[in-house]
């Protein structure tokens, strides 16, 4: 599998570590969220036959985190974004 890194260009997936569903970015506020919300965030994942957004950590490279939109049926990668940009756009990080 080849991941087209927004800064470094096409890189082999063996350079990356898979870090799971990209919804991990949307962590509820631990002070205000209900136990159910925290439970769902921590344990529930979708398992779609089709597009999925996932986090990939470029451990053997520049150590950036990416959000990769991948089709689980064909392994086609539709989009790759810096996780920081995604998080910022969602108001998560500074």
């Amino acid at each position: 599998m080849i991941i087209n890194h927004p800064r470094l260009g096409p890189r082999d997936s063996s350079e990356f570590v898979y870090k799971g569903d990209a919804n991990l970015i949307d962590r509820p506020d631990g002070l205000t969220a209900s136990p159910d919300e925290m439970h769902d965030y921590a344990y529930l994942r979708d398992n779609p036959a089709g597009l999925i957004r996932e986090l990939w950590y470029h451990e053997q490279g520049d150590r950036s985190w990416l959000v990769v939109t991948r089709n689980t049926l064909t392994h086609e990668i539709e989009a790759v974004k810096m996780a920081r940009d995604v998080a910022r756009a969602r108001g998560r990080a500074k």
Binding site: M1, I2, D12, H75, I77
Partner: protein, 657 residues
């Protein structure tokens, strides 16, 4: 022993005679022979015993699709079982032995299994070994294990080295036959980085086995000249003895290069290299594989694929028999008769299924003696060349799960529209079954890729070849045969087994495969799958199109586990991590313990100390009284964060200023 079946012509180098051992007997062949062609040249028709029934078997094909001629190579730790004699290059001193028999090959004690065949039909082990329960562990399992498998492992460590490597290119061309050579040259001419891979040790594919002309030259000469031209180009890499065995995501291919298998010794060099190949575009020119026809006792040594008989005659200068008959359902089979006759071999008859002639039975205990036709004619032939048509090698197109499409006019499956990333198919693999059509197809494919990748310049003229006849009438099995008719030779699956599979409800192709084992094992049914499908469709009344085919998965051909492991084996599979103080500790007599991946010093033994307790007591006392040093590198990492982290670390890093 003389090479009684050696005839004139071919590409072998008669100046270089090679001697080799077959079951302990010394025989000779020539440089350029395969083990199979050398065995045939020496009149060795019987080369093995079949898996289940221990039937005598001979060489069936001339390529990697071989189901029968599985032999054991070399000796000692380098012993390698289940190697296809048809792909083994002959070298001086090669040792080969036959497999799967007790006693001699000719008088196999296990041949009694053939008499038990009525009890060993498809799925017998699912039904037979059910009861009593206690018998399973004590009797059945040891018995099954004893008779399973063909060759024997050496049970020693593999003495050879295997390497891994990475390759990158613009265009990967798979197969160096007429189509592959044409595509590689066209892409090479416009300056694209090309890799041309072929599993054979000579480029040219079927051109070496046929008598066609290309651009006014003999096909084999044209291929040799073109290969030379490609090898001289800086942007082209020609990889012989190299199999592209798997298609992975985004233009990544699994490739196996055999570096020293054709040499007596690997001499410390890697035996095989497993390449991970990255390509922008791929032209699959894998050609086609001939398939068989099922008729009574069609598994005797001497019964071979018609194209293979032609290969041995034209490429290796070997005739598969002295008196040959041909059984075909297509024009291609006729060429075998023509080519053999031109070389002075006696062709006793052409049995053309299109004219309503069939072979119903054969005779000959250890090799073919007689062929019996439906009109009761008997032909005293020692070789029967069979052609049931050609199946395009679509395997790699299906590695991403798309299914090939049936074409009635070719009576064969062709690649689907939905191909793996960057792949196009050209030549016979694409259903362009004649030489000139295959070359045109490949040239067009390469030209389209050149345009697509924005390479400037001309791809050159299309090589010219004559268009031979291609006519086929689907014909799968001789229904009039009363005798057992083999579909899959490697797994001993007969037409009866396929029918039984249908009767017992295993009707989907995937069930058929698992229940009867049709199309399993090292050859993955390359010569037999379509035949099995056709028989199933006859039983179900469906078309082949509706029945479909089993899915093809990597690897295309067997790959040694050692090649997949590469250097990561033994100690190197999980190397020790060593602390900065390791060398010092070693010098000072430390006793080490494994701690995760680390080696950690436990204690330092001094002279006179009897056991570990003495050393530890001394160290503890010393630390309590004065001071001790412990290297805790193994215990974790120190994470330093913050704005001035780098500044803080600078003094500790001798390489930074």
């Amino acid at each position: 022993m003389s090479q009684s079946n050696r005839i004139l012509g071919g590409q072998v180098d008669r100046a270089q005679a090679l001697s080799f051992a077959w079951n302990g007997t010394t025989l000779t062949g020539y440089q350029g022979d395969t083990l199979a062609s050398a065995l045939l040249a020496n009149g060795q028709r019987l080369v093995g015993r079949s898996f289940k029934y221990h039937r005598p078997r001979g060489i069936f094909t001339a390529g990697s699709e071989e189901p029968n001629a599985l032999v054991q190579l070399r000796s000692g730790a380098a012993q390698e079982p289940n190697t296809r004699a048809t792909t083994v290059e002959l070298f001086n001193g090669l040792e080969a032995t036959s497999q799967n028999h007790r006693g001699s090959l000719k008088h196999d004690l296990m041949a009694v299994m053939d008499l038990m065949s009525p009890f060993l039909a498809a799925g017998f082990y699912y039904k037979t070994f059910m009861w009593p329960k206690a018998f399973w562990e004590k009797l059945y399992e040891p018995m099954i294990r004893g008779s399973a498998g063909l060759g024997r492992l050496s049970m020693q460590d593999d003495p050879d080295i295997y390497d891994h490597g990475y390759l990158h290119c613009d265009v990967l061309v798979i197969g160096a036959g007429p189509a592959g050579l044409t595509a590689a040259l066209a892409a090479g001419r416009v300056g694209l980085r090309v890799i041309l891979a072929d599993e054979d040790f000579t480029a040219g594919g079927r051109l070496n086995s046929e008598t066609y002309d290309v651009d006014g030259q003999a096909g084999a000469d044209w291929a040799a000249a073109l290969t030379g031209e490609l090898e001289a180009m800086d942007n082209v890499r020609v990889m012989k003895r190299t199999t592209v065995f798997g298609v992975y995501d985004h233009g990544i291919y699994g490739v196996l290069e055999r570096k020293t298998d054709h040499l007596a010794s690997s001499d410390g060099k890697p035996r095989q290299v497993h390449w991970r190949l990255y390509s922008k575009r791929t032209v699959l020119c894998a050609g086609a594989t001939e398939r068989s026809i099922a008729f009574g006792n069609n598994d005797r040594p001497g019964i071979m694929m018609a194209g293979a008989v032609r290969s041995y005659a034209n490429r290796f200068g070997v005739t598969a028999g002295q008196k040959v008959a041909v059984f075909t359902n297509n024009d291609d089979g006729l060429r075998t008769a023509q080519d053999l006759a031109a070389k002075g071999i006696e062709v006793l008859g052409i049995i053309d299924a299109r004219a309503g002639d069939f072979v119903v039975d054969t005779k000959g205990r250890h090799g073919l003696r007689k062929v019996i036709l439906n009109n009761n004619t008997q032909i005293e032939a020692d070789c029967l060349a069979v052609s049931g048509g050609w199946s395009p090698n679509v395997h790699l197109t299906s590695h991403h799960r798309s299914r090939p499409i049936w074409r009635d006019d070719l009576a064969a499956f062709v690649p689907p529209q939905d191909l793996p990333f960057g792949m196009v198919v050209a030549g016979a693999a694409n259903g362009a079954m004649t030489l000139s059509a295959a070359i045109k197809d490949a040239h067009a494919a390469a030209t389209a890729i050149a345009t697509d990748l924005g390479a400037g310049g001309a791809t050159g003229a299309v090589p010219q070849a004559s268009d031979e006849d291609f006519d086929i009438k689907p014909f799968w099995h001789v229904a009039q045969s009363k005798k057992r008719a083999w579909v899959d030779l490697q797994n001993d699956v007969t037409t009866k087994d396929v029918k039984q599979s249908y009767q017992e409800g295993f009707r989907s192709v995937e069930h058929l495969k698992r229940y009867t084992t049709l199309g399993m094992a090292t050859d993955q049914g390359k010569t037999s799958n379509i035949l099995g499908l056709a028989l199933m469709t006859e039983a179900t009344g469906k078309t082949i199109e509706d029945t479909g085919t089993t899915i093809f998965r990597p690897p295309y051909n067997p790959v040694a586990i050692g090649a997949l492991a590469g250097r990561a084996r033994g100690k190197d599979f999980r190397p020790y991590r060593l602390t900065p103080s390791h060398e010092w500790a070693q010098d000072n007599g430390a006793d080490f313990v494994e701690s995760g991946a680390w080696l950690r010093a436990q204690w330092f033994k001094r002279p006179g100390e009897k056991g570990w307790r003495d050393s530890v007591d001394r160290e503890v006392t010393m630390t309590r009284k004065s001071v001790g040093i412990c290297d805790v590198t193994t215990l974790g990492k120190i994470d330093i964060q913050g704005r001035d982290a780098a500044e803080f670390l600078n003094p500790f890093m001798p390489t930074l200023s």
